[in-house]
Amino acid sequence: MTARRFKPNETVDFVVVGSGAAGGVMARELSRAGFSVLVFEQGPRFSPADFEHDELKYFFMSGLTVDPRSSPQTFRKHPGADAQRPTGPMATQPALYARLVGGSSNHFTANFWRFREIDFHERSVLGAIPGTGFADWPISYQELEPYYTKVEWEVGVSGLAYANPFDPPRSKPYPMPPLPVKSSGVLLERGARKLGLHPYPAPMAIASQPYRGRPACVHCGFCMGFGCEARAKSSSLYTMIPEAEATGRCEVRAQSYVFRVATNAAGRTTGVHYFDGGKKEHFQKARAVVVSANGAETARLLLNSADARFTQGLANSSGLVGKYFMFNQGSSVHAVFEHELNEYKSVQTTRVVHDFYDADPKRGFYGGGGIDGRINPQPAIWAMSAGGELPGWGADLKARIEAFPRSMVAMGHTTSLPVEANSVSIDPTLKDAWGIPAIRVTYKDHPDDLAFTRFLQDRQVEIMQAAGAQRVWREEVEESAWSVHLLGTARMGNDPATSVVDKFHRAHDVPNLFLCDGSSFVTSGRGQPTMTIQALAFRAADHIGQFAKRNEI
């Protein structure tokens, strides 16, 4: 079956905005359920051979990610402050995501941790946290568990079930064994076990053996920040999107930028306005719209869709669209060992420690997280951090760089509390190359986010020392100014006054509009959101399909 091509005036059952982790799942599930689906993607479509081992292109010239030259963003720490565009040689877009078919599932690291039961009802267990919108989710882990399993089997995740004694219940083991352990994994495991902790094989959305027509990983080492030239990384580009197209009911329209969701007098969406690759404007009619554009762009699209009826932005009667933005904090601890690890080979992580997942009120601050062993394998970026304490130049810097094969990083991934002032909003003056108002990010970590991250960093140091490192040093934990984890800006909930979408991802205010991606998160989890984004998408698609078949949209 070849991919569908819709005619210009054709009304489709569903428009899906975004082709990434969530949009890909939506496209595949809704088209398999028998609906016509048109997926809009801002960026181009890459073939495997288009992906390169070129960190300069991808990290400094926006080869895959949203380009500040055409799609600028601004940043500020506090509401009321003037937001500025990031500058300097290492400037990064505050809300960083990949702009191509498959979205950020192309360049992600592929850590695929499930959330645990506690993530969904932590507010009830711990109580309120002043100055935050800390809340329970409207769904439980048990409701989501079948969809976690579906992600593991349909998207393709490698791992070892029941190895982590803290894992939540699961209905099936992983479909593939874990990827081969690396030296960073061995050393993380060695140090952690000496301290009485419980490291376990990392679950990764990368094929450890041939899987559903895709080859196994060839261990080239270019996962984080790069697209997979071997098709072993289970990105939407290689999994959900082609399977959606294979139904004959789905078209993926690349280089097509949706900038407004249209509504009628009845308060229902009628379709989307978009620019084609030549910046020519079009309108696409749809019976329903699903926005899965990521936690920053989904909020921006809703806010930019304000009209006479929805003056604050679409689906924003709560005033919460764009608010409660969460990044996930994190920290790095560098270690040098006696022998070669060669961490630039193979996937980023092969062992994880989840002993500090749960928050502990006795610490005096909220927070939880996980630790993995890795290195950021790109030579130039690694060299920039190899100096340790600045300024880092001369013979000392050179000696540290020469230790690259013997080096690793114990990385901590931690919670971010939902703070209402942290937000995606519309910059009052800045516009993108299409004339559409740009993203303005306001973000300042909650003190507990920094306190827990520093607590976990101390544990990372202890693990590396217990593993026998010759030298250990830490990168200072700093306030966040950017992230690739874009969460919480259209949160789920049962109460339309305190949430944007209901437990089935339907906008409270617009009956035929659904929002599903990182924006749906109520809390941040412990740092690896994509597994949960895809589980939510499978669950949402299941319900949306049922609603549509019952004519309830």
Partner: protein, 207 residues
């Protein structure tokens, strides 16, 4: 797709496309390392030779920038920034793909040169000063934004792909012990070679 600098890396893509488009996934799984090795060879063959001259920097400025980069990452028994042609990378970056930094870099370089003249009035330029003088001066300016930018560009020029005019002959990657290949096989390092397997915990849950 076309690479950022306009060079269409046809050989490499031909190898990869022949694997992904025409052949079965089983065949690819079995033969990927061979394809990748060929692709890597094609990559190496497409490396750019040393440029004939500078596009953005004049000769005097280029000499100072080269001397600065050579102090940031010195040569000696192993190649440093000078031997890796970092200055050619910096020049090309400022002229093209990092031109957004060019104005700030030039202003910073002018200030750097003026400060050096004040620091060492007897030296004709930073490039022509002795290494002890250079190092003594750099210790007075190594926390300035210009030095930070020069350091970042030097490291990018040392360790980025050779196709951007730096990392000449892969000198940076050799220094670092990094191999740019499209496939590796375990064991990857010393410690995983001796690993005997994951031992389950006694609290392990059962299926």
């Amino acid at each position: 797709m076309t690479s950022i600098d306009g060079e269409d890396d046809i050989s490499r893509r031909s190898f990869l496309l022949s694997g992904s488009g025409l052949l079965s996934s089983v065949w690819i799984a079995a033969h990927w390392p061979n394809i990748a090795a060929a692709a890597h060879h094609a990559d190496e063959m497409s490396a750019v030779p040393a440029p004939a001259g500078f596009e953005y920097l004049n000769a005097a400025d280029a000499a100072d920038v080269e001397a600065l980069s050579a102090q940031i990452l010195p040569g000696g028994a192993t190649p440093g920034a000078r031997e890796a042609h970092a200055v050619y990378f910096i020049d090309r970056a400022l002229a093209t793909f990092l031109s957004r930094l060019a104005g700030e870099f030039r202003a910073g370089l002018t200030q750097f040169q003026a400060a050096f003249r004040a620091f060492s009035p007897t030296s004709r330029s930073f490039a022509e000063a002795g290494p002890d003088t250079q190092i003594a001066f750099l210790k007075t300016v190594d926390r300035t934004p210009f030095f930070g930018t020069a350091r970042a560009l030097t490291l990018l020029g040392m360790f980025s792909s050779p196709k951007y005019a730096g990392n000449f002959g892969g000198a940076g990657w050799k220094l670092m012990g990094f191999q740019d290949q499209h496939a590796f096989a375990p064991p990857f390092g010393y410690y995983d070679r001796e690993y005997t397997g994951f031992v389950p915990y006694s609290t392990e849950k059962q299926a």
